[in-house]
Symmetry: C3
Subunit: 214 residues, 3 copies
């Protein structure tokens, strides 16, 4: 959908990995709620593709990526089914999954910025578009699992997406010689930030309030 001539192939492969990783973490969440196999597939696909879908609907950017390229649906579904078979292994590879999920966050964020850029919206919306693409799928997963979204409560995640988007937008604006460098630099920066946040449990301060609000 988004076409950065030289970097397209790299982002393309990374986006397949990101879709698979997010679908697999969603499948584990589905397993904790004893969903059936069809449910696991659906939750995986909604989580992996939901962020981009919400972005495209909000920007009026049609056709949706997975409508034009159903291969994304297939990847998400297959990844979810594989998770059923390999659940124990997937959990043991927890660390690998956190890294894959972080890759997903950064790649989706850049893709979301690219799409918004092409649609031609204010730069603030470019950042928001990146954040929605990176984060909204997980929010849908948590709503469907009947939980308050983790996004609103745990380690830096949306913030990583915003910082990644800001850096990416700045790099593209400055036309760092060619776009490839902007993409690579942003990727390394965003990924490092997220992994450090997980490692050192960086969290936002919380707003705890127990007033008698109606």
């Amino acid at each position: 959908m988004w076409t950065l001539p030289p970097t397209d192939s790299v982002l393309h492969v990374l986006s397949f990995i990101a879709v698979a990783a997010q679908s697999m973490t969603a499948a584990l969440a589905a397993g904790k709620r004893s969903m059936d196999w069809a449910g696991v597939c659906m939750l995986g696909a909604i989580t992996a593709l939901g962020g981009g879908t919400i972005r495209d609907v909000l920007l009026g950017h049609y056709p949706l990526v997975w409508v034009a390229h159903p291969i994304y649906l297939v990847i998400a579904g297959v990844a979810a089914l594989v998770t059923i078979a390999l659940a124990r292994l997937v959990v043991r590879l927890n660390l690998a999954f956190l890294v894959l999920d972080a890759i997903g966050l950064v790649v989706f964020t850049m893709a979301g910025c690219d799409v918004a850029w092409q649609v031609g919206v204010p730069v603030a919306i470019v950042i928001v578009s990146g954040m929605i693409t990176g984060c909204a799928g997980g929010v849908l997963r948590d709503i469907l699992c009947n939980e308050v979204p983790l996004l609103f409560r745990s380690e830096l995640y949306a913030s990583v997406s915003v910082v990644t988007g800001l850096f990416y937008a700045a790099a593209l604006r400055l036309q760092l010689n060619d776009t490839l460098w902007a993409v690579l630099l942003t990727f390394v920066l965003g990924l490092t930030f997220r992994l450090l946040a997980i490692r050192y449990k960086w969290e936002m301060p919380k707003f705890v309030f127990s007033g008698e609000e109606r």
Copy 2:
């Protein structure tokens, strides 16, 4: 919205019945949560029309059916209100409602396939479009009732929709002399499949997992 010349009128009447049936089951769910009358109407309308709405938004297919034909909103709202008055009767007619709901599932699925077909998307998306139209309304109902969607956990429902869609797409492709036959055959097949699934409690295998996933 979708116009199959000879079968239009049949599908039209069936779709009214389907909207009413889905609104009535949603109204019962609303009653279990002590919603007020306005809430019952809204939940009924969202459940009955939500699947088609999500499909149209995802495909960029405007105007939405109920925006162009508000009669669907009226039917859903009236059906919900009637349920308030006749709740005991509705429950006693449980079997009739399961049949009506199954009719709704099959009719909505075919309607969803038709719309996607007209928009001109890959055949995989035609099937997905049918499934979303048939199933997403119930997912919205369960989210608004604060429950993990039944769709992800109970007897074959999404699967019936997928099989119905596959058969329908195949029948239309083969141009079974005229479309009327494709519609009727699909209708009988889908309905039979769903009713058998209810009768014999056919379920997908479940993915039960209790790992220490984050």
Copy 3:
């Protein structure tokens, strides 16, 4: 987005107030669930802008208001952050907030009717569009806080929106000399109705049902 020449500026200012008020009440709800600061901002923005967003997506009315004018996002975010700092004060000003929220309901309803009117849909949909704009943000808030939407259970809220919309549509139809009067009359009527509903705890009758529905 909507442009009523003489009244535009008044509705504009009121809509800023409405966005801020709805974001602040959402922030308090976020605080009760110990969300972090980013979560508070996101919940505030989603609540304050969600109604208009859902309306625009359903009507296919692009670009969305906050995409074209990111100032709305800024107001919602800042209002949410201010609430974190001033939570105790905000609660003590509970009454003021109920009034601000009521202003928001009425202003959003009128704005929603205006947009639908411009898009050119049946009059029934104009009313529904007003109701969605006024009420859907709060439904999103409750879903994200993992609760059955208050809208479906508490004092007159959606009903106030419908009555406001009906009166507004009637006044515009009758071309009450100029639109300014239609806006002002509707504003006073809607606000009075909502405040009376809060004061005297006017509620819809509830549908309580405990049958063995599946």
